[in-house]
Amino acid sequence: MGIYKAKVKEVLGKEFPDDARKQLWGGIAAVFKSWNGRRAVSYRRIEGIPDDWGTATNIQAMVFGNMGASSATGVAFSRNPATGENAFYGEWLVNAQGEDVVAGLRTPNPLNEATKSEQNKHLPSLETSMPRVYRELDGYRRRLERHYRDMQDIEFTIQEGRLWMLQCRVGKRTGTAALRMAMDMRAEKMISDKEAVLRLQPAQLDELLHPVVDPADEKQAQAAGRLIAKGLPAGPGGASGQVVFTAAAAVEWARQKKTVILVREETNPEDVEGMRAATGILTARGGMTSHAALVARGWGKCCIVGAGDIHVEPAAGRMTVRGKVYKEGDVLTLNGTRGYVYEGRLEMRDATENPLFKGFMKFVDKYRRLGVRTNADTPEDARLARSFGAEGIGLFRTEHMFYGKGSDRPLFLLRKMILAKNEAERRKALDELFPFVKAAIKGTLEAMEGYPVTIRLLDPPLHEFVPKSDEKRAELARELGVSVEDVRRRGEELHESNPMMGHRGVRLGISYPEISEMQFRAILEAAAELCAGGKKCLPEIMIPVTSHVNELTHQKAICRRVEAEVRAKYGLKRIAYLYGTMIEVPRAALTADEMAREAEFFSFGTNDLTQMTFGFSRDDIGGFMKGYLEKKILADDPFQTLDIRGIDKLVRIAVEGGRRTRPDLKIGICGEHGGDPESVELCHKAGLNYVSCSPFRVPIARLAAAQVAIEEKMGAAGPKGD
């Protein structure tokens, strides 16, 4: 020991203190100082823990697990933290100190016989090695769990046959385990229904609905340096497959029963079929609300966007990641929940449908006040969302019928309409388009079985639909009886320097009333036919991108005229529908009292509202959002979590103004925020009637809405316990 102490003096220039009290006070000071140690400070930054909390210091009599064969140390969980199974689960080491179990230098033994695994079945359990101590420990486990009414994470030490408990706390768990524990503890009458609802984080539902990358395999892959890139976690779950670089290749390979990952610099609407065919999507550019991200989330498909280290060369059939080349057909794995890209194949854990999930969601619905709808553009999506418990469609986009499967003819007719040079030509094209629009709307109204469906009139700028390829231009030129050059020139005339703020939404309907008229007629005839056939349906006609009440007045006159014509045609006294608007321009929110004179409902389009309030182009945030978050200019990406200071304020102004004019005004939200738990909470507090989100997020929104309602009641009743 002399040499040892001398070395301390040599390195640090000071003596190791022999005095016990001096050691104690030195230790206390060092623990307090470690609150501001580098590791602790950076951990607090990541976890958002305030610097001024400080740490307490615990001084305890030492007990030793390393005093021979009758001494031991271990960690345990009162239930299995991975599966939730009600079985005492843990690890222990004989003749060892606490740190040895966690450090992983020795392979720990299983706690009991029942929880032995393939890896440790040959090792002795505490149950058989020290039966008396094990029974005592099991008694404390039961007692602590009953007392805390939650799963406990326990540390213990056995010194020469005597058991000491060193720590207990509520244990961390997977989503699967959280669900099972909540349901089991409720059945055991340990917790109430309300508490059970609060036990599952809404984000943990993701894990229950999508296959995920096996965490153990992922850890190994990271250690082996197979993590090649990071991007934004746009679509949850995991996916392994061969990479392809064009949508066409994705479709073709999928047809050959291959599993593919579609890798693109960025995606656009023309890639939709390829995205549908792929098992996972990876893009080098774009943010959380980029096209790829929106589409993938809508389908619940694994997707990573904005992985900036990736450079795609579709023509060469390859991509490079920091100098390393990957060819078409090479295998990658995506963890869409974390945004990690791996080389090679990783194991997936199948999130098979849990029967507990359905039971859980049933009593979740008892508590929420907020309605939950879905964003869906096809009858298939509508049915999927119904199975997830959606109570209507909050956003049906008519333009969807111009993308993807079966869109050739309607898209062609739309292009014909766009390039028409006068009203007569335009009306002719619209007449041809009409049956397609009506059929699509009718199918979706029918799939929703009487639940309301909010149908948004054509929203994007027209130039998005102008043909870009020579072949398509030639086809259109033949049909219209003009030259290819004419088609090209008319397309160019539609070009705008800032199309997101250009000729789109209601502005199209003001310039070309016949476009709105056709859509009103399609919606109302679809409803009339269902109605005449004895089916219930409730369309809600939504005018997009409005900023002035006069726009609504103008369009409403057309709508009412068409309604009268349709009623006459079908011999109906009335058609049940609502006329309303999207609130996505700040001026519309600020003048909501006026807007509500014409609108029977509002739906906040929070993507555009965020875009126009911040002045952030959502397709370009990839360039600066990362820096904004890193430098703490913004705490969250406002396209993911509703901005409380700004957007929430606008929402509240609009709710208050709108309801002043029309007390029964129905108000919802249909941006991607509808599925974000924090935003759901804000919507509840702002007094909205419903949120609407992509089908896979419907259960998440239902749970978040129930939790905020429960917490609100508990808050009113006084502070909650532990």
């Binding site: 040892y4 623990v31 307090f32 823990i49 400080g54 390393n66």
Partner: protein, 175 residues
């Protein structure tokens, strides 16, 4: 009366409870709760997060009255264990651990086996009859103390691999 900085727990009783996480940290609050339930926890005491805040704001000085409260609590621990800190025959050894409101696993420091020195070492060997165990404990204390208290807490930074912990490891290999 002076402010309460020190919360005792052990032997079926505790000053604090599980609702006091802000003051006692998660670990301290739960240790107090377990002690109250009569579950065997090694006796000890928690110094509050307020002392930490005071310590940081007053350039590493402890608040007035803390020392007396620590001595009183220590006396109780000694009585329960039948041992005394620094006693050459029946020495009490202590652990000093952090514990914040939120779990920060492995981010802060711990010192174990406080109370061992050349005299108490001999007493403990006589008591346990296990010199190997005692010397191992003493070695761990010197290494941990030098690393955590004398080096890191003093803000001393060595070149990679030249810290006192690593140098003592090398010394150990030579021995």
């Amino acid at each position: 009366m002076a402010k309460k900085f020190v919360y005792f727990f052990g032997s079926g009783a505790a000053d604090g409870d599980k609702g006091m996480k802000e003051l006692l940290g998660g670990k301290g609050a739960n240790l107090a709760e377990m002690a109250s339930l009569g579950i065997p926890v090694p006796p000890g005491f928690t110094i509050t997060t307020q002392v930490c805040t005071h310590f940081m704001e007053s350039r590493s000085r402890f608040p007035e009255g803390l020392e007396r409260q620590v001595e009183t609590a220590l006396r109780k621990v000694e009585k329960i264990m039948g041992l005394r800190l620094g006693d050459p025959e029946r020495p009490l050894l202590l652990s000093v651990r952090s514990g914040a409101r939120a779990s920060m696993p492995g981010m802060m420091e711990t010192v174990l086996n406080i109370g061992l020195n050349s005299k108490t070492c001999r007493g403990l060997i006589r008591k346990t009859g296990n010199p190997r165990f005692v010397y191992d404990a003493y070695r761990r204390l010197i290494q941990m103390y030098a690393d955590v208290v004398m080096e890191k807490a003093e803000g001393i930074e060595h070149e990679e691999g030249m810290g006192v912990r690593q140098q003592l490891d090398k010394e150990m290999e030579r021995m």
